[in-house]
């Protein structure tokens, strides 16, 4: 009871009422929302509906009950609704705040609490632990935590799916190999730029090879690449999962880490992380001593594809691959928040010997969305199956993505469809390096 009151009070105090009012309910955002599409156009599962729910709580028209929470959870946070909104409603910020309030006020049952604690505090902020992610997964399964979690039904973690997912994981480098990597990479040829590389957590553990590929590409494009050692997790999972304070802490650590390096750009290859990095200034907007530093940091953040294009990589480097059809799945955050959508396509189209087939609704979320594919399995798989239909229509042999979450999801899609023999999903960086090296 009191929780509901608390939540309502916090909604009143913390949600930006001007932003809620800015939504003029024109409905222009509805067609771009994947959950609206997948729920047979149910208004509550649309951006307009979710904004109305948040405003309804603030206005006292409804209680912030479980169904409100459910709709907010069902949102992918893909932010496809933002660029199409003519009124410029910052939906993502509203959602983040609302989720944070609900999370903070909620009394979780212990297994959920334990899992959240493990994911948000024990795992992601600590890269060395992430490097042991496989053993953690095993711990999760063996400890009984998994069973308990399943019983709560809050995290519908189905073993079947996890098992399928496990199959999609790339071979992880050994710890020794991970430790071996230097922190400074000189440009090939003349040095034209110095860039600081944001490694990310998943990208630097499960997909470390992709990070290495990205660095190699940047070198080829004439960049000196520096990896600030003390950087940490971007905090996106936390910010979107309702753990804002933790996200702020991580943001500050990162700002300090990159301030120590005089780089022209802060470069990364994971749209999901990038979207939070470019919004650090928003995240820290209420902390005057950080605001400016955050803005300076955010202004430098760019996806590696933009840098490659800017550095005329395709002119400098001959790219070719054996004949194949390639399609590209946008990373929502890369597209909708970082506003990068043409650079990856241009790079792919520069590869000789391949055909690029744009898939319908490539800009619709694949259903991965952070840990959404664990917390909202049913919807996530529904969206993925729809996505795979669109992939099939392109006859693609290769699905290119630009974010680890999307990559895992698309690999899962390939497994679900049973087309592992004929279709592969790869990160753009890996594909480009392959194309650059193939003679």
């Amino acid at each position: 009871m009191t929780t509901t009151k608390d939540i309502q009070q916090a909604f009143k105090e913390r949600l930006d009422y001007d932003e809620l009012m800015n939504c003029m309910r024109c409905g222009f955002c509805l067609p771009s929302c994947p959950t609206y599409g997948q729920t047979n156009q149910y208004e509550a599962a649309s951006p307009r509906g979710r904004i109305a729910l948040m405003k309804g709580v603030v206005d006292g028209l409804i209680e912030p009950d479980e169904s409100v929470e459910k709709q907010l959870n069902l949102c992918l946070g893909c932010r496809a609704c933002e660029p199409v909104c003519p009124s410029g409603v910052k939906y993502g910020h509203l959602l983040e705040e609302a989720r944070d309030i609900i999370q903070q006020k909620k009394r979780h049952k212990w297994p959920v609490k334990a899992l959240r604690h493990m994911v948000f505090e024990q795992l992601f902020p600590h890269k060395e632990r992430l490097k042991n992610v496989h053993s953690l997964l095993a711990f999760y399964q063996r400890s009984g935590l998994q069973k308990a979690v399943q019983k709560t039904n809050i995290l519908n973690v189905l073993p079947g799916n996890l098992a399928q997912m496990e199959k999609t994981l790339p071979p992880v480098l050994t710890k020794k190999e991970m430790k071996k990597r230097p922190f400074l990479f000189e440009a090939e040829g003349t040095r034209e730029r110095t860039v600081a590389f944001f490694t990310g957590c998943l990208m630097d553990t499960m997909f470390m090879e992709t990070n290495n590929a990205t660095i190699a590409l940047l070198q080829k494009a004439g960049c000196k690449v520096v990896i600030p050692e003390v950087q940490t997790c971007c905090g996106a999972l936390h910010a979107h999962g309702g753990e804002k304070d933790q996200a702020k802490k991580l943001a500050k650590q990162n700002i300090m880490a990159f301030e120590s390096i005089q780089a022209d750009d802060i470069v990364l290859n994971a749209g999901g992380c990038g979207a939070l990095l470019v919004e650090y200034d928003h995240l820290l907007k209420e902390e005057p001593e950080w605001k400016e530093r955050a803005a300076a940091f955010s202004a430098k953040v760019k996806d590696f594809s933009e840098i490659l294009l800017q550095q005329q990589f395709v002119e400098k480097q001959k790219l070719s691959l054996p004949s194949q059809i390639i399609t590209y799945q946008d990373s929502c955050h890369l597209r909708n928040v970082m506003k990068t959508s043409s650079a990856p396509r241009k790079l792919i189209q520069a590869i000789n010997g391949t055909v690029f087939n744009e898939m319908e609704n490539a800009d619709h979320c694949c259903g991965s969305a952070g840990i959404y594919n664990l917390t909202e399995q049913e919807m996530s798989m529904q969206i993925l199956d729809y996505k795979m239909e669109k992939v099939k229509e392109t006859h693609a042999h290769t699905i290119v993505t630009a974010n680890p979450g999307c990559l895992i999801q698309m690999k899962l899609g390939v497994v679900r469809e049973g087309v592992e023999e004929s279709v592969r999903a790869v990160h753009l960086a890996d594909l480009l390096l392959e194309a650059a090296e193939s003679k």
Binding site: M21, R25, P31, E43, A44, A52, L61, I62, S67
Partner: protein
Amino acid sequence: MLNERTKAKLVEVVGSANFQDSSEARLVYSYDATPNFQSLPDAVIMPENKEQVKRILTICNEDHVPIVPRGSGTNLSAGTCPTQGGIVLTFNRMNKILEIDEENLTATVQPGVITLDLINAVEAKGLFYPPDPSSMKISTIGGNISECSGGLRGLKYGVTKDYVLGLEVVLANGDCIKTGGKLAKDVAGYDLTNLFVGSEGTLGVVTEAILKLIPIPETKQTLLALFEDMDAAAKTVSAIIAHKIIPATLEFLDQPTCEVVEDFAQVGLPTDVNAVLLIEQDGPPEVVSRDIEMISRICSEGNAVSVKVAASQAEAEALSTARRSALSALARMKPTTILEDATVPRSKISEMVKAINEIAVTYNVKICTFGHAGDGNLHPTCLTDARDKEELHRVEQAFEAIFHKAFELGGTITGEHGVGEMKAPYLALKMGGEGVAAMKAIKYALDPQGIMNPGKIFAKDTRKRVVVRS
């Protein structure tokens, strides 16, 4: 609240998945795109076919439950706001294009089909469905028919009613009637088809429609003319028509509108002139070139400071897409955007625009104006903040003055958005007492219990338009 018996009967018809009465569902169907209106329904029902609609209406008629049919809720007259409670009936499960008949040039559709989906489907076959409300990406055909929506192509091609050949309608008592059909000629009895078009869900529920298609125009050219002086732009509109040219599109935007639209769409709209005309002509290439040349000359003679023909299809497309976003883009300026829909004979555009600006000054409110200049349909749009009650009162007064002026010039209170509840108090202004009485006679003959979208079109009494209820 619905009583348990009624609820049980309705659930039996559609199944529990298609009957929602959670507080969440009721909240998200409590509004449409009309500012300041919100009111919770008792339940939301999503029928799957005509049979279910018939049974739902029969039950509601017996139990006196109001029914609010709803497409995508993009209307701007509070037409789908359930101010009298009852059930909201949505058609997203009835969204099939049943047939595109290339021999008879017709399309048969269910009401929940999204306008743009229909347009794309027929264009893929080289056919054309001209009604294109700015909301077409999301509005439904059922909603278009019920509001008799118009669009950017209205000047040359007319509005929705010009393309509805036949309807299947379920009446309040559950009877299902068919009006019109694929026939090009049909004068048997009253023209019920036209009666239901624009009836805003107050006479029955449209469950199927036969729409007229035409061959797609061969080419299209777009032209942008800029004016320092609003009056010159308005006079140019009249001059073009007086030269016996009917452009496909003839849109007008004032300076503040251009500024916000450009801010959103970034297509190179000028932001430093006082009026912009966006003109489009389509048809055979020779005719289009000749007309566009002529229009350019008329614009220059009418003191346009710049006249530019879009270089490419993409550029033209970007311009009209930007125009379509005008209303929502204006919403960026202030929290509350109230758009009106006053229409005057096109020869009176200039006078009307001048009057709107004077009224804005008199009542000290900010009004941006854009609209379908070619058909005299203007959208004076007021930027305000609903929390400022005092200002809102002045907005009310300003709009009242605008309606009176439009009427004085031989115009009407709405050209395409419908009367709904928002403009109900002004219907008598246009129709006169006898006119309203005749309309009411029709309404109660077809819906004696008054269950179909009650409170819409006819005002109970003359009262303030702005209501917020929970």
